[in-house]
């Protein structure tokens, strides 16, 4: 059923061709950092909707709590105190999966169907197919997926694919009291973002920018950063990209080379056996 309502564009480790006749609406989440007050309602709503409850941790003196994303924390408010040319700034970022158009996690995943990309742009992990190898973690330019030790599966934000598939907005978007998080078509979100840039420029944020990095083909979570000239101060890589090694290791070339090597080893083994026969080892050395 969902296969019809939510067509699949890409599927990990598969030569899968999804149905492409239907034109799915590409969706996106817009996170307007300039409107965020760091209340963590999104973090709370995410845990509530996705039935996640982390253990009570330790306060290490920062507002960022818990200290990092984990299998029970799919979105995390990160707080940074940064010296910028404009003075000391308290920067807040809602961290979580960016749902890249060209996802490094999906490209590096060796387990068929463990990571899928829907036609609407959402990149979803299917934990039942996850083998816990952690390649998606190394493949992600944003350091998002987290391995759960107890079940050796990797978890991350689903952009509430279960809600979006029935026509609802993600839980974090709905709850945001200041309207810092919006959800809609990608085109509309980029339009909204441009409007925010104009407003921020009026208020003196001349370097405000939209973060929709092209190195990963654009993302389906787009940020408006007031200090857009310093994305790294928000913990975001300036020019994220998927390592070419990832593309190589899942490529047709690597597969062909792998098959050729395997067949070569088998053939060489048989030839060696035919020529020299079995290796005789004296009993005392065995």
């Amino acid at each position: 059923m969902a296969l019809q309502s939510l067509d699949i564009r890409n599927r990990s480790a598969s030569t899968f061709e999804g149905p492409s006749a239907r034109q799915a609406l590409e969706v996106a989440k817009l996170i307007d950092v300039s409107r965020c007050i760091g209340c963590k309602a999104c973090q709370s709503a995410c845990m509530e909707w996705n039935d996640l409850r982390g253990a009570v941790g330790v306060n290490d003196g920062l507002y960022t709590n818990p200290a990092d994303l984990d299998d029970q924390t799919w979105t995390l408010m990160r707080f940074y105190e940064e010296n910028l040319p404009t003075g000391l700034q308290w920067l807040i970022l809602k961290d979580g999966c960016l749902h890249c158009a060209e996802p490094g996690c999906l490209k590096s995943c060796p387990s068929p169907g463990a990571i899928v990309q829907y036609a609407n742009g959402i990149v979803d992990f299917h934990e039942e197919s996850c083998i816990g190898c952690g390649y998606c973690i190394s493949g992600c330019p944003f350091n998002i997926p987290r391995l759960r030790k107890e079940d050796s599966k990797v978890y991350k934000c689903t952009l509430c694919s279960d809600r979006v598939s029935v026509g609802l907005e993600p839980a974090c978007v709905k709850t945001c009291p200041t309207g810092a998080i919006h959800f809609g078509s990608k085109a509309d979100m980029l339009f909204q973002a441009q409007g925010r840039l104009a407003d921020l420029a009026d208020r003196g944020f001349k370097n405000a920018a939209v973060y929709d990095p092209k190195g990963v083909g654009g993302t389906h979570v787009v940020y408006v950063l007031p200090h857009g000239d310093h994305p790294e101060k928000y913990g975001l890589p300036r020019r994220p990209s998927v390592s070419p090694l990832v593309a190589l290791w899942r490529s047709g070339f690597a597969r062909t080379a792998g098959v050729v090597t395997m067949v070569g080893v088998a053939v060489a083994g048989i030839l060696h056996y035919m020529r020299h026969g079995p290796l005789e080892v004296p009993e005392e050395k065995e």
Partner: protein, 195 residues
């Protein structure tokens, strides 16, 4: 089981071969791709008001079951009410976490009474609690109601008791609260919403 060196090499080679085949796409099973099932499809929706502060955000409580005779409801999700004029679906972090507040093991679910000088709380019935409150209220008012002030003007003030109202009260409840308490002569009326 003892494994000779030769057998060990054979087992290892076989394992590498098999996993290599799987890694190359010759996987035994083809997993289906589907989103997690939407959990509210047939849940019962009940409108309510967030109890935390005076903003009074509208919430929807989603409960298991359709209220059939044999179905026991249990709240499984709380979400902002998009049709509520106050919050239009949004909730602050406290409101967004209401589910755990509802299910909290520390939640007070019945009236309890601690007698003066005692360190023990004991469970009491609502009837007992309401009767006792009414008795104490009446006794205190009968004893301390101030009919006239020093100038001899009729004031009918009751200054020895105060009332703390709830934040989640509707306008109508708030109106009735003030009406009743003023009729009793009470002047110290406050609201938890000022917290």
């Amino acid at each position: 089981m003892t494994v000779t060196r030769r057998q060990f090499v054979q087992i290892a080679a076989g394992g590498i071969g098999a996993t290599s085949l799987a890694a190359l796409g010759f996987s035994p099973a083809r997993a289906l791709a589907d989103t997690r099932a939407f959990k509210l499809t047939h849940a019962t929706e009940t409108r309510n008001t967030c109890p935390y502060c005076s903003v009074g955000c509208g919430v929807i409580l989603y409960a298991l079951g359709d209220r059939a005779k044999n179905a026991h409801t249990e709240i499984i999700h709380v979400e902002g009410d998009a049709d509520h004029p106050v919050n239009r679906g949004t909730l602050c972090p406290k409101g967004a976490g209401l589910l755990d507040f509802i299910r909290s093991p520390d939640r007070l679910q019945f009236p309890e009474y601690r007698a003066p000088g005692s360190s023990e709380w004991k469970r009491v019935s609502w009837d007992w609690a309401v009767d006792r409150i009414a008795r104490l209220v009446k006794d205190d008012r009968d004893k301390n109601l101030l009919h006239k002030n020093a100038a001899g003007v009729t004031v009918n003030r009751w200054l020895t008791s105060g009332f703390l109202a709830a934040s989640a009260s509707s306008n109508e409840t708030g109106y009735l609260t003030v009406k009743i308490l003023r009729a009793l002569g009470m002047t110290a009326i406050d609201n938890q919403a000022r917290v």
